[in-house]
Subunit: 230 residues, 2 copies
């Protein structure tokens, strides 16, 4: 019963599986029927052996001497990632960032559908963004209950993010993607992922500074031929 996990998939691997799935979609559009791990890895920007190890968590799904069947691997990855059917999501805080997300077509094509847009600003309520109408924040609980949304996205100001999070969790949402620059606290059983864009910029600034003031980096004139695009 409880030991029914043949293999556990590391979270870092799951993130890469999603990238592979996107690359496969492009290959399928191009009419390709099979791919090798080397080609797939190059397109995804990872090591070929690492890619094979990632895929091996799903069990053998390639053919030795030939490669991976594009269509079959797509199905396998789609099932593994849990996006076989479209997943309903709610988005709270339809400001600049929230509106950009709600209006982005790339999510729907990846299996994510925003079924509820919520905002506290009366001026925003009623706006149509990305095929959905913005509703008042008071309806959060009823929207979550009515749509059985499993994923909540928070793009409100930081000072209200925790209270919005609490309401989402109380309403039954178990997965949260947070763009507000605060550490959310949630009960066990709820998954939170945080996207912190300021942190990304600061890491880049650090690497930049480290390169300048660090070691004598002038000894690497290797002009790497930027390969890839194809």
């Amino acid at each position: 019963m409880t030991q029914s996990r043949p293999r556990i998939v590391p979270e870092a691997t799951v993130a890469r599986l999603a990238v592979y799935l996107r690359v496969l979609a492009g290959l399928a559009d191009g009419g390709r029927s099979h791919v090798s791990s080397g080609e797939l890895a190059a397109a995804a920007g990872v090591n070929p052996a690492g890619l094979r190890k990632d895929l091996s968590y799903l069990g053998p799904c390639g053919v030795r001497g030939v490669g991976y069947a594009v269509a079959g691997l797509q199905e396998r990855l789609t099932a593994a990632l849990g996006v076989e059917r479209s997943r309903p999501c709610v988005l709270v805080g339809i400001g600049r960032l929230g509106a950009a997300l709600a209006d982005y077509a790339g999510f729907a094509s990846r299996g994510f559908e925003f079924v509820g847009l919520l905002d506290a600003d009366p001026a925003r309520v009623g706006d149509r963004v990305g095929g959905c109408t913005v509703r008042p924040i008071e309806e959060l609980e009823s929207v979550v209950a009515g749509t059985r949304a499993s994923i909540g996205v928070i793009t409100t100001p930081a000072d209200v993010a925790q209270s919005v999070c609490d309401r989402l969790v109380a309403a039954g949402v178990r997965s949260i993607l947070n763009f507000a620059p605060v550490a959310l606290s949630v009960p066990a059983g709820v998954d939170v992922r945080k996207v912190d864009l300021s942190v990304e910029l600061q890491v880049l600034a650090f690497l930049d500074q480290q390169r300048d003031g660090g070691p004598p980096t002038v000894v690497v004139p290797v002009p790497v031929p930027a390969g890839g695009a194809r």
Copy 2:
């Protein structure tokens, strides 16, 4: 003088240092003069011992028995992250996402200033977004050269991201933050960080499914992937 860098700082630590810096800003606003590692760690959502180890990469900067001086630690982190002065950034692709970033006040307060906004759409050129005017993509090289921007942010469609990246690198940009869902290839000496929002959602979907289908047996019924398409 400053004993150079006998210690190398792991990238994961750098990302957390940026979070600590933000928490410290909040504490400083609240009038606090000192903080303990436990309190700081709780606010940042990390382990107290890990936080102390992170800070120890910068050398001893706390007082035993008391804690860390808020102001002093802020200065130390600011210097370590290379954001003592405002860093000039260029943003390419002023669409929905790019406009949200350009108009976001949180970057300026963290030491990042968008000094160049570039877009290929003539209808966008001339718009003022976040105190800066959108300029035609042809001026990319001159803007980078004129502002000595060290960080480039790409929010264009995926199919042109690599070419935009190449032009940024050729113009002298050595740090790139990429929002387009493609793996950019760059020469050695250039740092790229990728933000992939679809991947974040898919990881959440996976965790959600794993929680539901974990205890009961959910062996994927796919027997043989032999069936090739086409």
